[in-house]
């Protein structure tokens, strides 16, 4: 059996990203020569990209450019889509997530995901929604679950709002609260990376601001990759911005650089609204 590929997480697979002082950044995830197909339609084309640890990387680009497809590849979620296929490698802390001995359930525990539309389990209480992942992983110690429940809701900045209503249905909450409940659910299993696919697109500005504030707090503990159509949001929350176009990575760099002086003309034309 071939040995799974391992990369040094200190060695970038693409052009190295640097911090404001020019030092190379520690990397959490690396996508190397990733191509993806839905049936015969190619959605991602030989894409390599590094995602720095404990930082927010935003992925922007026009509809159909492959943003959501790509982040689904980061936790093997695309495998749930019929006829979806991938080539290339995705590394988490140097380990290939597509190695034959890698369990997809473990991958999804280590790389959590929050979707565009909040999706709490409708038949479960707020509390059960948060700890469902732990229960599915065989954890039944009530004291531990209660501790993790409070810890996760606090991290998701929701504890104070729901602590007296933990038995109520998750769907009884407002849209913004439901989205933070989904974030708490993703955090409960202590992932290393949190993927967010347009997490605020269905929320009002107040709920959006709360999620954005939360992202700033979470990035001190987790690596975050966020797909967003809202460029102002990418500017507000992210440390790095990647621009995708037609399944390719056109440019990635510090968010300040990309939004002030992008290197590629395609990026400039897209972010300034000249794309035609």
């Amino acid at each position: 059996m071939p040995q799974p590929e391992v990369v040094d997480p200190r060695e970038p697979v693409a052009a190295p990203l640097r911090d404001s002082e020019g030092a190379p950044l520690p990397l959490a995830m690396q996508a190397k020569n990733v191509s993806m197909w839905y049936g015969t339609k190619r959605a991602i084309n030989d894409l390599s990209m590094d995602m720095p640890a404990k930082a927010v990387t935003a992925i922007i680009g026009p509809s159909g450019c492959g943003k959501s497809t790509f982040i689904r590849a980061l936790n093997r979620m695309h495998e749930l889509v019929p006829h979806a296929r991938i080539e290339g490698s995705v590394f988490l802390d140097g380990q290939d997530l597509y190695a034959s001995n890698m369990d997809s359930a473990i991958v999804r525990r280590r790389v959590g995901m929050v979707f565009q539309k909040s999706n709490p389990f409708p038949t479960m209480s707020i509390g059960d929604n948060v700890v469902v992942g732990l229960r599915l992983n065989g954890v039944h110690d009530r004291k531990f679950l209660n501790e993790r429940l409070e810890q996760s809701l606090r991290m998701a900045a929701l504890w104070d709002e729901v602590k007296d209503d933990l038995q109520k249905s998750g769907t009884s909450l407002s849209g913004g609260q439901q989205q933070r409940l989904c974030i708490a659910r993703a955090l409960a299993v202590e992932p290393e990376v949190l993927l967010m696919d347009e997490p605020c697109s269905a929320l009002d500005p107040i709920a959006t601001a709360k999620i954005e504030e939360l992202i700033q707090e979470l990035k001190t503990r987790f690596t975050i990759v966020i797909v967003t159509h809202n460029m102002q949001q990418a500017g507000r929350v992210s440390d790095f911005t990647a621009f995708f176009y037609m399944g390719r990575l056109i440019e990635i760099g510090s968010t300040t650089k990309v939004f002030t002086n992008p290197t590629e003309k395609q990026t400039e034309d897209y972010i300034t609204g000249r794309f035609g």
């Binding site: 300040t256 939004f259 002030t260 300034t272 609204g273 000249r274 794309f275």
Partner: protein, 228 residues
């Protein structure tokens, strides 16, 4: 290079309007400076009066550019080259307005000088006038044409103007001691010289902003150059 239009036509219209106001302001300031200096050298009070009258419109344009710039930031949230253009316009306009103020100062001093017999030392102003005017014109051209090389050359010329100002000050101070009768006249020429030196400083500021607008490079206070 042809810059493609924005998908949002109103964004293009707002940027074009901002640019037009800035060019109008620069044109008026240049004309005002030219009239003030001609008023001085040709001893023409009407030209001085015209230079002073232009200042009101220049001031109004400065306020208009601030208002339009803020509105573009608010309504369109520009990024990349668009953001740099708007920020530069907002930063450029006070410098252009101050060139207009210097023209007014020169015109006021010229009117005072014109009330007395001509001083031959006014010739000290002639090379400074040419130098300051060319710096100002080139700084605006550099911004309009996004010409980084021209902008850098403007910055390099400011030291010469400073030296001319020092030279004129030395000569005029000497004359003040030698010819006390004309003390007020020499003092007015010193103030004209200083106004032209300030025009050079504003031209340098404009050129620095032109470099930022064109190349996203901050060349102010060289030695600690920052590029994003």
């Amino acid at each position: 290079m042809v810059i493609p239009k924005h998908i949002l036509g109103t964004f293009d219209e707002a940027l074009t309007s901002l640019r037009k106001d800035l060019l109008m302001m620069a044109g008026l300031s240049e004309r005002s400076l030219d009239r003030a200096l001609k008023g001085l050298l040709q001893r023409d009070d009407d030209l001085c009066a015209n230079a002073i009258a232009d200042d009101e419109e220049i001031d109004q344009l400065e306020k208009q550019i601030d208002k339009d710039g803020f509105e573009i930031l608010l309504r369109f949230q520009p990024v990349a080259s668009d953001l740099r253009r708007v920020i530069s316009a907002i930063k450029l306009s006070p410098n252009i307005e101050r060139v207009g103020d210097q023209a007014t100062n020169i015109a006021k001093r010229a009117r005072k000088l014109n009330q007395h017999p001509p001083l031959p030392e006014v010739q000290l102003i002639v090379p400074m006038q040419a130098h300051a005017m060319s710096m100002f014109k080139d700084s605006i051209n550099a911004y309009v044409r996004e010409n980084v090389e021209l902008a850098n050359s403007v910055c390099g010329r400011d030291k010469q103007l400073d030296e001319m100002n020092r030279h004129a000050n030395r000569k005029l101070t000497e004359r003040m001691i030698e010819d006390v009768e004309q003390l007020q006249g020499y003092f007015n020429l010193i103030l004209v010289s200083r106004a032209l030196e300030r025009v050079g400083d504003h031209a340098q500021n404009i050129a620095e902003d032109a470099v930022y607008a064109a190349a996203a490079e901050d060349i102010r206070h060289k030695g600690a150059a920052v590029s994003v």
